[in-house]
């Protein structure tokens, strides 16, 4: 009486992929995060058209209106502009800057990480020490210095945020690649004569996608915060372009008289960052489950 074991490889692969997605969907907080982000993005993109007020419309009679005054959902600012409209327009800037910064830093970080992880030894060590050295500088300090020295337009801001965010991605990618390097499929590709570049991109990066996505998600969260920090301090996005950060800068002096001016953008930032963090967490859990099986 022999018991035969079914061939596990193909079936397991499919099942673990599904299991990963199922786990992610079950992670309620992550799903809430996804929902929130989708709503936020939708609101920022489509919202301003649907709102009764234009964000630039100055109305001196309605200045400093607290939330829920008339049609002003969140109230108005010192110039009588509708806070909700301003919030959504600012959201466009803040979110796009963060997203763009994430893309750039993910590409740069992955490139550095893959090269460092693949070649190892001297090249890897030097690259990773460079990453360590960059990480010695507190991000805020470096960001502010660069922002003060260069032009403070949204593109530059995006670039410098990316310049201070790629290191985390590089670290994650490098450690992943280092483990993947020793796996059978890498060695097989090498033996088949594939070029270094091909191995790095086709084999290694493709298998490191999971952790890269997690790192990217967390990078967006961080980028939103970084933009808020430097804009709040006056070195980020400059008025009249609104961003959540510089809205808070203006709100500071009216803290006692019109607290909603500070509360609303802050809540928006917190909401966006929390959502991305939850999503990143959920993705990480789903990945762990996949790796376990």
């Amino acid at each position: 009486m022999t018991a035969t074991a079914a061939d596990p490889t193909v079936e397991t692969a499919r099942r673990t992929g599904n299991r990963g997605w199922r786990r992610f969907r079950r992670h309620r907080l992550a799903m809430i995060g996804v929902a929130c982000i989708l709503l936020l993005v939708l609101a920022c993109v489509a919202g301003p058209w649907l709102l009764p007020f234009d964000d630039l419309r100055i109305d001196m009679r309605a200045r400093f209106a607290p939330p829920l005054t008339g049609w002003h959902l969140f109230g108005t600012d010192p110039l009588g502009r509708d806070l909700c409209a301003r919030l959504l327009m600012a959201g466009r800037i803040s979110l796009s800057v963060a997203f763009a910064a994430m893309v750039i830093s993910t590409i740069v970080g992955s490139a550095v990480g893959v090269v460092a992880g693949y070649y190892g030894r001297a090249v890897g060590a030097v690259l990773m020490r460079l990453v360590d050295a960059m990480l010695c500088f507190p991000a805020v300090f470096l960001l502010l210095t660069l922002a003060a020295l260069l032009k403070p337009d949204p593109i530059t801001i995006t670039l410098i945020i990316a310049a201070t965010s790629w290191m985390e991605v590089a670290r994650v990618v490098e450690s992943q690649i280092r483990t993947l390097r020793e796996r059978d499929f890498t060695l097989a590709a090498e033996m088949m004569g594939a070029s270094d570049a091909r191995i790095m991109v086709d084999e290694l990066l493709r298998n490191a996608i999971g952790p890269i996505v997690v790192a990217a998600t967390l990078t967006v969260a961080r980028a939103i915060l970084m933009e808020a920090y430097i804009s709040f301090l006056g070195y980020g996005i400059q008025p009249p372009t609104a961003s959540w950060g510089n809205m808070l800068n203006n709100a500071q002096q009216y803290l006692t008289s019109a607290p909603w001016l500070a509360l609303v953008p802050g809540i928006a930032i917190t909401l966006a960052v929390t959502s991305f963090n939850f999503i990143g967490d959920g993705l990480r859990d789903a990945l762990d489950a996949r790796l376990e099986s």
Binding site: A133, V140, L146, D281
Partner: protein, 316 residues
Amino acid sequence: MAQFLFGRALQSLLLLWLVSMIGFAVLHLTPGGPLSQFALVPGMTQARLAEIAHEMGLDRSLPVQYWEWASRLLTGDWGRSYRDQSPVLDVIGSHLFATLELMATAILIAVLLGVWIGVMGAVRRYSFADMLATVGAMVALSIPTFWFGLVVIYIFSVRLQWLPAGNMYTVGDGSLLDFLHHLIAPALVLALVEVAVWSRYMRASMIDVINQDYIRTARAKGLPEKRVLIRHALRNALLPMITLAGLELPTLLGGALVTETVFTWPGMGRLFLDSLGYRDYPVVMGILMVSALLVLLGNLLADILCAVADPRIRLD
């Protein structure tokens, strides 16, 4: 251990060198270039600057410039502030202590709270309290520190009038109590993010340790659970936290900058912003380098502590 320390010291030196190169690169972006730190008078003309540069022999190649700059830093000459000509190191030095006080208090709060919450979460996994702590930590990580500071000021200074809205001392009063009264709000605000980070890592570390075989052995010896948790589990779970402290230094410094701004705390962070506003680049660059050095030293210190605390490293 000597071998370990030697290795770490070498690594730190390498990092120091790389850090200085990065600093030098940033310096190139300042008007007047890297050696404007040492140029005396603000509002100097381009012509005069070029003269000085030539005098210092510094329109030469990059490596020479770097060498000049680095050796000056090493000898303690960090240039002079544009604002009042005082040596940069002195200016920074007079503000450094306030920042360190703030950071130390925040770390203390963060460690105590973070460890407590983390251990509780690990021991009572998936309980309501644990879930609350986990979600709470995530939210806390996502709150912009400065905004939280504003909220705290609004609630505790404006509304409740319990705490002062800023500064380190009330004019006329320099007592310890007054100092503490002013310290508590900024320290708590700065600690928020750190409590979140610490509690999450502590929880993970504790869970990891509790699942180890030697905990099962301790229980098999019939020891009370509290002793198992504290003397056996915690003692091991705290080890990675030392490394974490080092890794969190940059975040802490950045947070300190922002907190000092919101609470007008007279520390290095606020000095940084003020100097930035005045375009006082020597001071700005000086603080940038000092902060990187602090991080470097802090990490080295953490590694040494790790070696001391972990017999596996210590006695090899």
